[in-house]
Amino acid sequence: MASSMTATDTVDAKQVVLVMVGLPARGKSLISGKVKRYLQWTSVKAEIFNVGKYRREGTPHPDAKFFDAGNPEGEKARKAAAEAAVADMCNWLKDPSNKVAILDATNSTKSRRKWITERLEEARVAHLFVESKCDDEDLIMANILEVKTTSPDYVGQNPEEAAKDFRDRIKMYEKVYQTIDESEKNLTYVKVTNIGHQVVINRIQDYLQSRLVYFLTNLHIKPRSIWLSRHGESEYNLEGKIGGDANLSPRGFQYAKMLPELLRKSGLPKDAPLTVWTSTLKRTSQTAEHVVAELGWEKLPWKALDELDSGNCDGLTYAQIAEMYPEDFKARDDDKYNYRYRGGESYRDVVIRLEPIIMEIERSENILIITHQAIVRCIFAYFMQVDQSKSPWMEVPLHTLMKLTPKAYGTEVEKFKANIPAVSTWRPQGSQAKHHEAGEAEMVVGEPVKGVAGEVNGTKA
């Protein structure tokens, strides 16, 4: 085994249930999905228990009346769904390696929260209520528009009618909604108003909870996209060498020149600011050159976006590594995520150093990130929930721009290929250390990405 040290804090983390609270269209599912994704990326096991999903089993396409507190049948069905979800959740928590359960439902009354508190105290699991409160009409409308087009409740329905029905549903909830207030001051809770403009954090009990709150306070739900690209082909790429701080190749410069056009083609937000992030290595800032000059965006170089440090292997080709360090070459194939280069880094190390970047991405709006293969893989894995055994092996071709757009029910990926040939730097698991000749990239297929990915609520849009 190459790496003997990991830096996760999962061993001591106590189990906790995040209980969402809030009216429909307040971003609860979005928050739940993001929390799960973040935790899994940092190697903490997390699962979402969406009461709506349980309710849908009996009532797949309910109308607004179903949600009227005065409708005994609807009320009964919804309580049964909540009970089923909580029971499954408690069962899941019996496995001590499972750490964070997220109960995604409105839980909008004090009596419902009291019931949940009692159930969880019985099960002896700590819990943290997360209330998302919003009185900004524009934000709510934006959320409604998104939900009506992506929610499984409205599949195949007229969007206009769906939106109207959804607004009626919210009204039903508003009638009985009770925000968390002083009478519940003994609860552990975080109450977020208007996407983080006001936050009340009450009685946080341990470190994992504080880290979750930290993450939650960094989130926003404004629409935005993240553009992700590797640097253009470098001189080292041509020679098949890894690492280094080489200049772009002539074709790499061509890509840099074409990038503004490619970005425009991908659909830029109107009048919304965009920031360019690069690493501190020459090849990424050269790739950003024309974007910055033509589009006038601000460029910020991050050390944390530098390529995975390959230590002693820096500047070698895969063939040389296989020859000089045959054991290492094999160890890396066996467990690439944990393999740490001699004197260098592992993917796990990279994920740890990227955590502040992820927090910052969550906090930011539109950004273009120009970075390196391993870093793109880690960031991509975060957004698309790619498993640790697969993420280090993903193919990320040169001269291709990716646009990631977070949606309530997952992240949308679009790819834009610049028609500029480049070498492929992708080496599949277990393959020979062969260097792909220039132009061969076009022949390498194998797309890890399909449309919208990311599992939220157990449904895929």
């Binding site: 061993v11 954090i201 470190y207």
Partner: protein, 557 residues
Amino acid sequence: MDTLLTAEANAGSPRYRRKSSTFVDAIHDLREKGHLAPAQLYSTESGRLFHAGRIVICTVGLPARGKTHISVALARYLRWLGVKTRIFHLGDYRRAIVGPGKDVPDDYFFVNASASSVLLRQKILKKCREDIYDFLNDQNGQIAIYDAVNPLSAGRKSLDKEFAKHGMKCLFIESSCDDQRIIEENVRSVKISSPDYHGWSEDEAVKHYLNRISAKIPHFETMEETDLDWIKMINAGERLVINNRSFGYLSHRIVFYLLNLHIKSRHTYFARAGVTLEEESFKADAPLSPQGVDYAKKMTDALLKHREEELQVLKEKAGPDAQLKPLIVWTSTRKRTVETSTFFAARGFQVRQRSQMSQLNPGVCEKKSERRIRAEYSEEVEKHDLDPYHHRFPRAESYHDVAVRLEPIILELEREQNDLLIIAHESVLRVLYGYLMACDASDIPFLSFPRDEIIEIIPASYNNEAKRIKIPDLPREIIPASPEGPKAAAPPSGFATPVPGLGNGMLSPWIKPGTPEPADGMKTPVGAKTPLGSGTGGKTPAEQAENDISIRIHDVV
């Protein structure tokens, strides 16, 4: 002594060159010595985290609400993260301008103060603000912590405007208490130990002090301003309320830290693990040798005896019902530390194992003598000597790696409310000590922890203090602190050290690679307060006042 406020003392030290190729992660960069921060994840040329801007953190709150404690703790953490931070206590400026032994006029804090008091107030504020501008504009500072009462909303708004003019953001942190017990404990622990209250009963002294505050500062408005950025900490962290108008990365990070901070005072003890059957091997994870078991027993006895004595002192002071805080023990998951804790477990103390506290992994240096390491990895040894904090031998961890993986422990350390004994390998103790005592990263590998001493860290709102508790009757050969780097692999036996104690790690001339033990002169007299002034530039009033700690104690603010 706490070296937190002297971090710039090394600003003039020679600039190191970069270690190897430019393909080195920022975390390995050799910067000016004074810029090395233990858990810094990235850095920029200016020394500022580029996207975080310059921030003035303004404290808000009546005296005895833990403002200074929060300021100092925050500065410690921010510096640990690599953020250039400095504290400006307005009280120090007040004392410096009013003159030693004198107090401000009675109406100084009044809303309707006399013209002369208003003028004095403005004069003091101006001097402090100028120092803040200088720090943030001309010394590459990133965060200035402005420690003052800031009791009135109007005053806070004008402060925000004033700093905005200079391109600096204001983040207000209010410490508020409606729990009278917390306030009284605070007064008891930090405010009434001055000679002024000699011979008073504690209760009388607390009452007198609190009355003085309400007479001096009759007007206080809690933060409600929707147009300012603020964090309100209620009852020592029980609740946090945040008004986020434009929080950036660091403001969020500060919230995270404050979520784990409390203002209760507790002691931290550091003890080394006992010696094992297979001392040179990391991979073996060997159990304790008979000598190691003997050490564990003696260490347990020494600490419990010490705590018994502390309890007696406390009882004399606070009455027969006084109790120490419960003691809990943290070890790593390595056998030697777990086994060292068994005598505590047997006496019913709670012991927790923390995987992150595993010792520094020596990688290829495993089981190799210094000579062999020098022969086989001469190039690595060369790099190591240049930067022992960041360099990692093949397959090994650097101290920096250890610091980064210890960050959750650091936050939990802040969260812990009980007295805490940490039993760990010396490499881990070095890093944790480095945090608590704000050592420069480059000094951390050379901190020395002889086995016959338990280190006790006593927090105070101004600075932490390190004490040593002797463990008697240990065989000489197990005492020495293990050296750093290539020397660490196979420690010389029978090496008697004259180690007198821990230097402060900042100004120590003794620190250079290969010198594991501090010189005698660096010994910090127990209980003595040491000047905390910063080493750069001319002396600020803060520094002058800090030289005379005694005057600040009876001062109300």
